[in-house]
Symmetry: none
Subunit: 622 residues, 2 copies
């Protein structure tokens, strides 16, 4: 029962029809819901669907189906891998630029494996003179002083390893690239010895070819993923945004982390996380826009039962793709699809990927999988470290609003004079500042930082906005209906009342204010906010058991504090109801933003929003 080989993903169980069909001669991949019905994959508006029959399992992982639109699937996939590729290296690398940092050929020998720089190909546009001279052109693959290429800071979408560019339409490492090619080359049939939900990460990627290929395909890898010249300018910008974000996340990872991961070699450019290895996790791709296939919750629902009871849907719904949360069991809240122009479930937009580049051509639905590093669990477990959480919160988040420009400009009717675009720019700018603090906070939460970078990104894309709301709520004054920062009071309601229309932005702002007020009414303590923020941060749609363990641990701590302070056991549940509410607002924010973006396309001088903001809230909905 070892590994069989075949590019066709044969079902582990012969009774189960294979969800994927790969034409051996062309390498073209067909995905079907039924074994007889082939949906030809094309660049056109054809939905890319994979239905995976759920196999009940007594193991720690099981399947959960929820529904996603091919367009803007609401739930972010969470794939927890382990690769804290972090950053120690980047910062410290600087200090090691040998003698002449300017033209040093700093043969950065990535530890362990020798990395030979091809002189012919990569040498050229190294800045000969001043490094301050900013290259006019930013090529994705052009080597920088690090010896790295831009795109390589984005890890492999399949396994999280160091990527080497876009291959078959997806940012992957050399290994996954070669594996996919090989799989397409010969007529073999892979089989999964387990439940077709094996973790695919750097360490385990060779454990199961079936699941690896499955993930490749689901991420949109395709032999004829049209390279079409180079990527378009827009695509490139998107990748660059993602690069920036990864850089940001990698920036100063090393010194924190509770010393758990401190022993990084100091100078290396690439430092695999000290601990690496994932756990399996059901890996589902859902028929687009079909919400009826939900089969169950990933694991013992009872274990999280306490905190998911009594979930009440938020007051409003905006008519959008259904949204489910396995923990909260939130009722589907609908927002309009992010890109209303095309509408329709069977019309995946170009950016149907959760990453900036990759799935665009194929219309594949982004995969979701994840898990905590096995070894981490084995050795330490992911223990919610309450004191650490609180101190991290206090260090990075508690005063995050203080430097904002809101305080100064708020007082008078300053906001009224804004055009819509100006208002968006202002909003995005301030939001980004908060988000930067959020990211710093997140990086120091071990339940987050232990994740694979891709999953970190996914979580940030999913939950950044929510965390901003949490933060804002802490400065919200219920009495004055305003946010008070740096002593300045921002009369949100008042400002809002001066807006001229009942447009979506108005609704968004209004709902946000309402949410802030409701949350502010809880009068949470700093510790409680810290713990709650952590929950918001790591919240996702499908947890692995270990993730639940962490989530639950934080919940327990929060519960204890809340009960101790309020003697009300329902507070936690009521707090947890904010999670779907946040998500609803977050999605509506995305909706408004996308609408604004589309307007901007016609604008002669469009507003440039912050890179981080652009990437986090890129049109490719979570």
């Amino acid at each position: 029962m070892a590994t069989l080989q075949s590019p066709t993903l044969a079902p582990a169980n012969p009774h189960n029809p294979p969800p994927l069909f790969i034409n051996g001669s062309t390498g073209q991949v067909f995905v079907s819901v039924s074994p007889t019905q082939h949906l030809q994959q094309s660049n056109g508006p054809t939905a890319f669907q994979i239905s995976t029959t759920t196999v009940s399992s007594n193991s720690s992982t099981s399947s959960s189906n929820s529904s996603h639109s091919g367009l803007g699937a609401a739930a972010a996939a969470m794939r927890v891998e382990n690769k804290v590729r972090a950053s120690p290296q980047v910062t410290s690398y600087i200090t090691y630029i040998p003698t002449n940092p300017v033209q040093s050929h700093a043969k950065d020998v990535k530890l362990g494996e020798f990395k030979d720089e091809n002189p012919t190909v990569k040498e050229f546009n190294r800045p000969v003179l001043s490094p301050s001279q900013i290259p006019k052109k930013s090529y994705i693959k052009t080597v920088n002083e690090n010896g790295d290429t831009q795109i390589e800071v984005i890890p492999c979408k399949v396994c999280g390893d160091k990527s080497s560019g876009v291959h078959y339409g997806v940012i992957t490492c050399e290994g996954c690239k070669g594996f996919f090619r090989r799989s397409q080359a010969s007529n073999m049939t892979y089989q999964c010895p387990r439940q077709k939900n094996c973790t695919v990460d750097r360490v385990n990627r060779n454990r199961c070819q079936y699941c690896r290929l499955k993930k490749c395909v689901e991420l949109g890898m395709s032999r004829d993923a049209v390279k079409f010249g180079r990527m378009s300018k827009k695509q490139r910008e998107k990748v660059e945004d993602e690069v920036r974000m990864h850089r940001q996340i990698q920036m100063a990872d090393l010194q924190h982390m509770g010393g758990l991961y401190s022993q990084q070699q100091s100078y290396q450019d690439y430092s695999p996380p000290s601990v690496q290895c994932p756990i399996t996790m059901p890996f589902e791709v859902y028929p687009s826009s079909v919400s009826s296939t939900s089969t169950g919750l990933p694991f013992s629902q009872t274990s999280v039962h306490v905190i998911t009871q009594g979930n009440t849907p938020p007051p409003q719904s905006y008519a959008a793709p259904p949204l489910q949360h396995p923990l909260a069991g939130a009722a589907p809240l609908n927002y309009p699809p992010p890109q209303s122009s095309l509408g329709g479930a069977a019309a995946p937009t170009v950016g149907a990927s959760h990453n900036g580049y990759g799935i665009a051509q194929t219309g594949a639905v982004p995969s979701s999988s994840g898990g905590f590093p096995e070894t981490l669990i084995a050795t330490h477990g992911i223990h919610p470290d309450e004191p650490n959480i609180v101190s991290v919160y206090e260090a990075h988040l508690s005063r995050c609003l203080q430097g904002l420009d809101l305080g100064q400009s708020a007082a008078s009717g300053f906001f009224q004079s804004f055009t819509r675009a100006q208002a968006w720019a202002k909003f995005a700018g301030e939001l980004t500042k908060i988000i930067q603090a959020v990211i710093e906070f997140a990086k120091n939460i071990n339940g987050f930082s232990c994740l694979d970078q891709n999953d970190q990104i996914l979580l940030l894309k999913r939950n950044s906005f929510d965390l901003v709301l949490v933060m804002l709520s802490q400065f919200y004054s219920v009495e004055s209906d305003s946010v008070n920062i740096d002593g300045a009071m921002i009369p949100l309601r008042q400002i809002l009342s001066q807006w001229n229309a009942e447009n979506n932005e108005f609704r968004l702002a209004n709902d946000i204010i309402g949410c802030l007020r409701d949350l502010a009414n809880f009068n949470l303590t700093t510790t409680e906010v810290a713990l709650f923020s952590t929950l918001v941060l790591v919240n996702k749609d499908d947890f692995t058991p270990i993730q639940v363990q962490f989530f639950h641990g934080v919940q327990q701590s929060l519960m204890q504090h809340l009960v101790h302070r309020t003697s009300d056991e329902s507070v936690l549940n009521r707090l947890m109801e904010f999670l779907p509410r946040f998500q609803e607002l977050s999605h509506f924010h995305m909706h408004c933003l996308n609408a604004f973006r589309h307007e901007q396309l016609q604008s002669p001088n469009p507003v440039r929003l912050p890179d981080l903001y652009e990437e986090l809230f890129s049109e490719t909905v979570l």
Copy 2:
């Protein structure tokens, strides 16, 4: 001993001195006869010499040295390549283009394909499947439409692939361009795993970097090839002529070919010659103007022995570069060198290339290599298809003289009133009409059409005139000493007698008439002429074994017919003696034409000869 890289062409055998030296920093190429003696290559009148030590080989291909002048080497190189551009694969690929095949993204991913054959030296691979799998490449697309010169119809001079313009002084494809650039960019040393005579064509070009670079250099590629110099008007016209000729050849290639490769998609932009693919072939460059190095014949001389015996030299010799034919073993017949103005072996003229554009700057000696398509051999072989040959002959050649203007204008002393230029124009015009028929004939002979376009051109340049002679002979009346066309009798002798001088043109015409008469005396049947024409068509100086096979096959057919009709076994041999005689006349025709051209340079209103004629008989002697 694995892969060595360096742009310097290192000798395959350390004991053999490298014939080429490339200055790594400048990319300048030096060629020497001895390892210590560097002849600096320049644009001036320096001989470009490469002495290749012949290595005896037990393989099907071996080396043969003959002597050529750097100027006008007589023997046309034959390089047969493999290039099944058409191929079933294209069709099947098309069917998989999802929705809209027309604007399909059917990107031709033809990349380097490598394969190892010799473990010690790096050698690249050939396609894993069939060469027919090698993707298309649009030739035709640029052919028509606008009248401006589309240089791209001329295939790459190095490998025969689709060219993309003039690069480093030579018409090359993107691959050879990039390869040459790379080779000049870095300091590497290539090595040939074999005898430095590897075939360089589209399929095999990546198998030996040494030979590829060698060919590049020999064709005159140079980093400082006068680039933007905007070629002279004459060069330009030459290129245009070549373009026109290639167009003519490409014109209606696809529909014939015995339906072997008939399954072309109908709408595609590219319709290559139906069959194309090469085989390796010894690749020699000879010391210029040295005739003593002849080492042997390419392959079993015995196999063609029968037909090459008893070759008697033609009555006259004109004192010219030696001329050898491996099959016929013809005694060197000498004509004056085509361009007598410079004379001398060490003085290559500007047009030393066999192509219209490219080698001008460097004075390199054109290479010669060739072979039949391997896969074609493997799957079908190149079987002489006698019925097809005959029908093709009847369709395209048998009545080729009927539309000529000779019939009308011949009767009276019309020709007498011609000036020399008018006579040439008339002659060239009528000749061209015949040649057009000859080309149509050739395109439908599978032993010809399977060749690479470059080789087709070379063969046409070499043998067109000969074929015209064959055709004319069919209309020659021995009794009346005249050519009878359309009922009109053209009293050649009579016309000739009115010419005023014993100049070269007179000698040429006289010899032609003699040749026509001699051939007409054979009273060949249509079938015999068809077969004989085929032999004349594919005749060349160095055959590959497969080519010999084809040649021999046709010979056998012809032999049977001749013996059956005449019961004389010597007829074939006597017929074969015409081959070198044709060549002699052909070269003398070239000589006269060039002399006429040079006269025309002084003429105020020079005669414009037909494009096809100009190109086929361009000053760059065969």
